[in-house]
Subunit: 359 residues, 2 copies
Amino acid sequence: VKINTVILGFGNVGRGFASVLLRKAEYLHKRLDIQLIVLGVVEIGPDGSFHSAFSEHGLDLMKLLETRRKTGTISAYSGAGGHYSSLELIERSGAQLMLEMTPTNLKEGEPGLSHIGAALARGMSVVTSNKGPLLFGFKDLKRLAEDNNVGFGYSAAVAGALPIIPTGCYALAGCQVDSIEGILNGTSNYILTEMTNSGVAMQQALVKAQQMEIAETDPRLDIEGYDTAFKLLISANSIMDADAKISDVKVSGIEHVTQDAIEQTRSRGCMLKLIGRARRTDDHVDMSVGLEEIHPEHPFYSVNGIWKAVKFETDLLGGIVLLGGKSDPELAAGAMLRDIVNLARESRIEGGGRLDKRF
Amino acid sequence: VKINTVILGFGNVGRGFASVLLRKAEYLHKRLDIQLIVLGVVEIGPDGSFHSAFSEHGLDLMKLLETRRKTGTISAYSGAGGHYSSLELIERSGAQLMLEMTPTNLKEGEPGLSHIGAALARGMSVVTSNKGPLLFGFKDLKRLAEDNNVGFGYSAAVAGALPIIPTGCYALAGCQVDSIEGILNGTSNYILTEMTNSGVAMQQALVKAQQMEIAETDPRLDIEGYDTAFKLLISANSIMDADAKISDVKVSGIEHVTQDAIEQTRSRGCMLKLIGRARRTDDHVDMSVGLEEIHPEHPFYSVNGIWKAVKFETDLLGGIVLLGGKSDPELAAGAMLRDIVNLARESRIEGGGRLDKRF
């Protein structure tokens, strides 16, 4: 099956995806009968200007990556370069699938939210790596996808190497999930591990994490617990059918952890971990993020460094724990590819977007 | 979507499935739009005779369970009881889905192998909890399902509470899985844990496991490593696309483990575990089962008692670890329900079996 595809965003994630796609093209074709034809790509420059490449016959990804590397813009792609906006590409391309990999906006999810909405409403399936739109419009986007009978994949936006969403969706299909708890942020787990193992202060551990490029230059979202809360919220809205907003999550982080607290926890034989927790109550889902003492019998006790973990409690299958540790630029690409394969398997990627007759 | 279903086997697993189905019927209908209509059930009595209940309008599962409990045979189901054979039910029912839950035959997989083959060839989807047919005919059955464009679910046959097959199939979709290693047998892991914690001999730990109904009366398959080998083999054939037989797996078990060996391992800070291991080589997949010393950094170190674990190494998503611990009669039911939901989602359960005109 050939899938005509457009890509929004060609930063690290987008270019990582293109590289992975080149490497896996033969595997996808021969083993899974999937051929992704990339018709168009749009990237927004630092000045807000649109750069695009579009050909109804498909772009050569190798050439696209090379053009981007050599000239700094995909609009230099010979014969197909231009300056379509994201919406123009959605309307113009008639593609069946949109891959949304623009930078995350945590204020109101735009422009990803509008773009995903426009694509779904037009009958295109969407796979995204972008948390923003999920934080502000998950239920609406999900409903839009259902109403238009198209696929909507978002597992790459929730801890790519830890397949929380596919596990909830497929491995636990038919179960009611009663709780989700997890170590969902690699940076804060690395810092806590470093403080425990090396006896250093929080600030020193953070600097080391930044040197190792585990922590961002602005690490506040990680250490204040918000990245954990975002992943928890999307997971609970998706898997536990909650209908919550980020303001419904009680959030605290690791920013005030002292060596003293670490030592006291160790003296009790435990480990201090930043845990996100969603629990089903009679009529809704309670969510919180905060430090917890983890006992040696708990499967999270030995989840250290940048490893993440999640535990689901279910009615039919008991407790299921997932651990995953990979963290690199190609991870999101792998997670997006997974969503594409699963949607293709469910025959959710079909038909193709309705062409806008204005073009 | 209504799914006309027949059930082969009405022992603990079959009756457990019926109970779970009664309990989850509303959830399945309202949330997932799935209605399972059980048209017929066949059970083979201890004397080899067939007992059946069949109605083209569907059976009342509550009444079926009650009839079985009160009279010892489903053929006493008023108005629909009889003595159809398994093949007669397959041919007669025109059902879309067959649930195969007959006892496992580890010699040649029969009669499950023939029954599954007959159903698939007739255009019925099949979900099974039975290892036997998978050990002897996995590739053939898989191909038969593809050729007939129907679904074939078997995750319940491979460590139900540890969703190895759905993880390989969905969470790791698009990845190449390079190795699978796991603690796949709860009984032997329980015995090793008990030997470690209580300092008792293998034989004593086994007796305790039998008293707690963790170990079977005949525990040889568990402690000699074969149950682990069976699960490993099915996983590798399914997820790593191996094409191996049980004789290709080097198997050793825990039957000769002494307290001395346990103590020596502990003195090195490690734990002794029975590990199944499948590794991709240039041209095939190497498989073995045996005791290994597990270091404290390894995620299996703290997998104790009846908990099981599996670790996948993949090209795109790095290492993914799964832990699961539940073990009860309803587990297989939960795993089968999962397969049914996933196949329905992929629209693999459609059409219905081709009716045999002889009836």
